[in-house]
Amino acid sequence: MADQLAMPHTATPAASVRTPSADIYAPQWRNVIFVAPFLFFFTTLLLFPLLWGIWLSFHKADTFSSGNFVGLGNYVRLYHDKVFLQSIWNTFYFVLLTVPTLALIGLFLALCLNRRTRTAAVLRTLFFSSSVLSVTIVTLIWRIVFIPNVGLLSTIYGWFGATAPAFISNPSLAMIGIAIATLWWCIGLPMMLFLSALQQIPRDIYEAAALDNANRWQTLRSITLPSIKRTFVLVVIIQIVLQFQLFGQAWLMTRGGPNNLTKPIVLYIYDTAFRRWDLGMGAAASEILFILILVAAMAQYLVARNKGDRA
C-alpha cells in the first residue's frame, strides 16, 4: 500500500521530463483532409477557369481549337472595337441608373415597412416576391408592359389619346426600360438587408432621442442612418457586383439594341465568344470585366472605410 501510495511521488519527477503533449493547433498534413473538398471545388470551378480564361485571352482561339499565342493582340483589338467601348459605357450607365436607385428605394421601403403591423408584413412579402422570379419571367412581364400598340403602357396612354414612349426601341429610353425592369426585379434584397439592419438598432437609443425631443428627421439623420452605414455599403457593393453582370434582361428585352446602346459587357462577351466563335477575344473582354468589377467594388469599399475611420 505504502509502495502504491509512494508511486505518485516517484512518478512526478519522471513526468517532468516527459515530452510535452502534442500541440493540437500545430500544422499537420492530415488537416488538409478537412479543407480538401472545398479546395477541390475552389480549384476546379473557380481557380482553374480563371487561369484558363487568362491564358485564352492571350491566344487566338475559337470554340473548337486554341490557336497561336497573340500576346496582347486580343486586348488591342478590344481597345479599337467601338462596340466594346460602347458596351463598357452601357454597363457603367446601367450601374449608375440602378445601384443608387436600388439602394435609396430599398432604404425608403425598409424605413416605411419597418413596423410590426399586418399590412407591413404583407407589403414586405409583396415587394420581395418579384425577386424569386426568373429573369425570363421578369422580362416577359415587362415586354408585355412596354410592347407598342397592345402593351399595358400603350393601353394606358391610349386612354388619354397619347402615344406611349417606346421603351424597347427608342435609343434614349431603351436602357432606362431595362433599368426599370431590373429595379422591379431586384428591389427585394436591398429592402430585406436594410430591414434586418434597422431591426438591430437598439431601441434605447431611440428612447433617449425621444426624451431629448428629437424630431423624426433628426432621429433619422443622427441615429438611423449612421447605424446602418455598414449595411448601406454592403448593399451598394453587392449591387455593383450584380448589376455589372447585366445580361439576361438586355438579351431578352432588346438583344442589345438599338445600335448596341443596351449591349452590356457580358452580352458583348457572349456575342464574341459564342456567336462569333472568337473565344480569345471573349476571354480578354471577360478579364477586363473582372478587373472593372474588382476595382469598382474595392474603390467603394475603401472610400466607405476611410470615411468610417474619420468618423
Partner: protein
C-alpha cells in the same frame, strides 16, 4: 392451366421483358427550330391536317415515328436559330444526330469537320443530288460534297393587304397589285398609299431587328450587280450601291411609310389587323396568311391577300437574297443500325417535301416544283419565280449569322438617324472585315 405452366409463362414473359432492350428501337436525337406546338400537333400523324412550319414538321416527325417502329426519334426544340446552343453541344461532344441548319450556316460547321458528308448515305437510300433544285444543291454542297439534306429554299416576300391596296388605287385592271419598278416609284406609291389610307405602306419589324435589314440590303445589292463578297474573306459595303439602298430605306422611315417600333410578333399582328399595306416577311408565313385571308371577319379576308417576290427596283440582275433549311448530320461514331436509321429519316423528309412546301417555302426538289399538286397550292403562281430569282451569299462566306447582325445593327443606326449613312457603311464594312480576318 397448371401451376407449373403458369410459372413457366410468367418466367417467359419476364425474360421477354428483360430481353426487350436488345430489341428496342434505334434511338436518334433530332434538334430543330420552327417553334413548339405540342398542344395542337403533339400526337398528330395526319400531316395533311397540319398547318404552319411548326405543325407540319411536328406531324411529319410523329408520322415517321409511327411508320418506323424500329426507329425512335427524340426531338429537342430550340429557339430560332439555335446555333449558340448547337455550337456549345459540338464543343462538349454532345451534338444531336440530326439538326436543322440553314444553308448559310453549314460552312461554319462543315469547315471544322463537325458534319458528316451525306453523299453515300443519301445514295444508299435512293436520294441523289440531281433531284434537288439548283438553289438547294448549291446551298447544301460544300467542297463538292453534300453536307445537309435540303428541305426548302426560302426568301423574303411582299405580303400584301389587297383591301388597302384597292383603297390606295394601287391595283391593276386584272386585280393584281401595282408594285414599284424603281426606288422613286416605291416612294411615290408609298406616299399615295399613306395619303389614301392614312396608314403606312410597309409593316416592318424594326425594333432591335437585324435580319430584315440585312436581307433587304443583300437583295437590292444583287439587283445592282454589286459583287460585295467577291472575296469571301473581305466584304465591300462602303459603296455607292449600298448607300442607295440605305438612303431608300431611310426615306421610307423618315417619311412615315413604315411602322417603326414593332418587334417580329407585333409586326405580324399589325399586318393581320390591317395596319399597313405590305409586310416584309418570309415564305414561311404564306400558309398562315392565306389561312387568315380565308377566315371571315379578318382584315385579309375583305379583299384578299396577295404575295409577291420583292419588286425589281434597280437595273441589274433579277435577283433576291435567298437561303434554305437543311437536315445536317453530326460527325460521330455510329453503329450501322444508327446510320441506317438516319438514312431512313432523311429519305422520309425527301419523300414528304411536298407537305413541307405547304408552309410557303419553296420545295428543294425539281419534281415537286413541277408537280400539279404544288402548283395548285395558293399563291404559288406568283412566288415560284423565287426559285430562279433566289441567290444566296457565296457558300465560302463563314459566320453569316454574325455578319447579318453587324450589317443589321449598322443599317438600323443609319435608317433611324442615330448615325450618318456614310459612317454606318464604313463601320459596317470594317466590323465585318475585322470579324472575317480573325476567323
Amino acid at each position: 392451366m397448371t401451376m407449373r405452366k403458369m410459372l413457366f409463362a410468367a418466367v417467359s414473359a419476364g425474360a421477354m421483358a428483360l430481353a426487350s432492350p436488345s430489341l428496342a428501337a434505334t434511338e436518334l436525337t433530332v434538334q430543330r427550330f420552327f417553334g413548339a406546338c405540342d398542344a395542337d400537333f403533339g400526337t398528330n400523324t395526319d400531316v395533311g391536317k397540319a398547318v404552319g412550319e411548326c405543325g407540319i414538321i411536328t406531324s411529319l416527325i410523329n408520322k415517321f415515328n409511327a411508320d418506323n417502329p424500329d426507329v425512335h426519334v427524340n426531338v429537342a426544340t430550340v429557339e430560332w436559330p439555335g446555333y449558340d446552343q448547337l455550337t456549345a453541344q459540338f464543343a462538349s461532344g454532345d451534338a444531336p444526330d440530326i439538326v436543322t441548319i440553314h444553308e448559310s450556316a453549314l460552312s461554319d460547321y462543315q469547315s471544322k469537320g463537325l458534319l458528316m458528308p451525306l453523299d453515300d448515305l443519301l445514295k444508299s437510300v435512293g436520294v441523289t443530288p440531281d433531284a434537288f433544285t439548283d438553289a438547294a444543291r448549291n446551298g447544301a454542297a460544300k467542297d463538292g460534297k453534300i453536307y445537309g439534306l435540303p428541305i426548302d429554299s426560302w426568301t423574303m416576300l411582299y405580303h400584301i393587304n389587297m383591301d388597302l391596296f384597292k383603297q390606295a388605287d394601287l391595283v391593276n385592271a386584272d386585280g393584281t397589285p401595282i408594285l414599284p419598278k424603281s426606288p422613286e416609284e416605291l416612294l411615290a406609291q408609298a406616299e399615295q398609299f399613306k395619303q389614301k389610307t392614312g396608314k403606312p405602306y410597309f409593316v416592318q419589324n424594326l425594333a432591335n431587328e437585324t435580319a430584315l435589314y440585312t436581307r433587304n440590303l443583300y437583295t437590292y445589292l444583287f439587283q445592282q450587280n454589286s459583287d460585295f463578297f467577291a472575296d469571301p474573306k473581305h466584304v465591300k459595303l462602303n459603296t455607292p450601291e449600298a448607300k442607295k439602298v440605305v438612303e431608300m430605306y431611310k426615306a421610307i422611315f423618315d417619311k412615315g411609310y413604315t411602322t417603326k417600333d414593332l418587334d417580329y410578333g407585333g409586326a405580324i399582328n399589325a399586318f393581320l389587323a390591317g395596319e399597313g399595306g405590305v409586310q416584309l416577311n418570309g415564305t414561311w408565313v404564306v400558309g398562315d396568311n392565306n389561312a387568315q385571308s380565308e377566315t371571315k371577319g379578318t382584315a385579309l379576308n375583305k379583299d384578299g391577300y396577295a404575295v409577291y417576290p420583292y419588286p425589281q427596283l434597280f437595273g441589274g440582275a433579277h435577283a433576291q437574297y435567298a437561303d434554305g433549311h437543311t437536315w445536317a448530320v453530326s460527325q460521330k461514331d455510329r453503329t450501322p443500325e444508327q446510320t441506317a436509321a438516319i438514312g431512313k429519316f432523311l429519305k422520309f423528309f425527301a419523300d414528304n417535301d411536298f407537305d413541307w412546301s405547304r408552309t410557303g417555302h419553296l420545295p428543294a426538289y425539281k419534281a415537286i416544283i413541277a408537280s400539279e399538286a404544288f402548283k395548285a397550292l395558293p399563291h404559288r403562281n406568283t412566288i415560284t419565280a423565287v426559285a430562279d430569282l433566289g441567290k444566296p451569299l457565296p457558300s465560302a462566306v463563314q459566320r453569316q449569322f454574325a455578319i447579318q447582325d453587324i450589317i443589321g445593327e449598322e443599317m438600323s443606326a443609319a435608317i433611324t438617324g442615330q448615325k450618318d449613312i456614310d459612317a454606318a457603311l464604313a463601320d459596317m464594312e470594317s466590323r465585318v472585315n475585322e470579324l472575317l480576318a480573325n476567323i
